[in-house]
Amino acid sequence: MKVKNRAAKSSLLMAMPMYVFTILFTFGPLIYMFALSFMRRQATWGVINEFYAGNYLRILEPVFSGVFAESFKLALITTFFVTLFGYPFGYFMAKLPPKHKNRAMLLMIVPFWTNSLMRLYGWIIIFRSNGILDSVLIALHLSEKPLRLLYTYPAVVVGMVYVLLPFMIYSVYSSAEKLDWSLVEAARDLGASKTYAFLTISLRLTMPGLLSGIILTFIPSMGLYFIADILGGNKVALVGSIIQEQLLRARDWPFAAALSVALMAATSLTLYLYRRITRSEDLEGLV
């Protein structure tokens, strides 16, 4: 018992820096944000220390609840396309022979690590009116007039899908890599069609990866406002952009805090549902 106690003590000592850092700079600030959301804004500067629920009532105003709905819609659309394109990619990649697998992995990692602004800037070059896409389409006689896609909703969706796709690919890949392919072969040998074997075995066994990919796409896409900012002009307003505006321009911190709490509640709910469905704690392929 004594040895165990010492082990516990030294383990705690090792974990202590992270405990302190986390309590001080993650937990503390989050609590403060929560408290702030119930305060009232002072007319000129700062906040008044009294209980006030008005910030939350303000979120229910159509202007703001509309923005929440808009963000939710964009996140859903993004997640849908990311799943559509990402799942097959991760799945096929896991089936590659080892040599090709490593090569594909490196090719995947490079864009993921590349500055996302740079990648979005590439899309500006493509989407700009009379840019690359317009020129190509007109040259191929696929389109008569320039499409002028920059600063439109589809451009924002493309940007979001493009930036978040790697998360889905990794999650599905790490799940599919552990898959015992002999199970699929056995099913095939026993007369199952390709589709049937995929649906009953592969898809079910890669479900944790798929679900964690959905989470890893959905959560950030609720908050990623700079893509809409860059590729959508001012046309697509998201919760993120409203929070930023309230923080930096309107200087209404309590309201910004309330918006953040609401956004966090929405994302936590998604995470909670994920944990309930998969009964697991760690997300697949996060790192």
Partner: protein
């Protein structure tokens, strides 16, 4: 195995998606050599913009800030994350699960919220906004990467090595230094590299916690994209891209050594 050599649907699919992934990046690089200032028209090959970039002092300052910030935060995260991962794998503390949950929160909740949380909290504490606040904020979202990677690596390791060392009389510190750390090194280094990449890429959190005089590279690129880019931005992006490829290859090589 019949279609080992043939062109399969999956092969075409993988190639196609990869090509789409690279098209925007390649375009940015190509247009960095563009003579013309208008970035959708090709005006001939030129290295002018690179020269222009090297003469821009504010750009260098931003680059230096980003590198310093990335190094400081990924290193602090490596130390804090590795220690915690070692401690928590070795002995299942009751507080471990809860702490793990909070420690990984910074990468689980939208960045904009972390940005707002840091902004309000730092001003409550009265910390001067600048490099210090940037390092604290970046360290907090780098810790989860190192922690999770090292934890995963340690979970797959044989515990008997450390036990053997301890039985042979090595102190706990010595066992950590001589056994655990070298074994976990690939994960520590890849965690650090990933942290560095994430820190180097971050714009949302940085915007909120930086001071008036401290610009990071992504912030600089962001404001240029918003106000109008010149091929100088392309040149900068192209250089960053080269460094990225190098870091990726390095990380792949390290994590493959198992």
């Amino acid at each position: 195995m019949a279609k080992k050599r043939g062109i399969s649907f999956s092969g075409i699919y993988l190639t196609l998606i990869l090509i789409i992934m690279y098209v925007p990046i390649v375009l940015v690089v190509i247009f960095s050599f563009n003579e013309s200032k208008i970035s959708s028209l090709w005006g001939g090959f030129s290295l002018n913009w690179y020269g222009e970039l090297f003469r821009d002092r504010s750009m260098f300052e931003a680059l230096r800030n980003s590198v310093v910030l990335g190094l400081l935060s990924s290193f602090s995260a490596a130390v804090i994350g590795t220690l915690a991962a070692t401690g928590l794998t070795r002995y299942k503390l009751k507080s471990g699960k809860v702490m793990e949950y909070f420690a990984t929160l910074p990468i689980m909740i939208p960045e904009i919220i972390m940005g707002m949380v840091f902004l309000t909290f730092f001003s409550l504490l009265g910390l001067p906004f600048g490099m210090v606040t940037l390092v604290i904020a970046h360290t907090s979202f780098c810790i989860p990467y190192v922690f999770l990677m090292v934890k995963a690596r340690l979970a797959g390791l044989d515990k008997s090595y450390v036990e053997a060392a301890r039985d042979l009389g090595a102190s706990e510190l010595r066992a950590f230094y001589d056994i655990t750390m070298p074994l976990a090194m690939p994960a520590i280094v890849s965690g650090m590299l990933l942290s560095f990449a994430m820190s180097f890429d971050d714009v949302i959190i940085s915007v909120f916690v930086t001071g008036v005089n401290t610009n990071t590279l992504p912030m600089k690129i962001y404001s240029q994209i918003k106000t109008g880019v010149t091929p100088k931005t392309n040149a900068l992006c192209a250089l960053i891209f080269v460094v990225t490829i190098f870091l990726c290859a390095l990380s792949m090589r390290i994590s493959k050594k198992k």
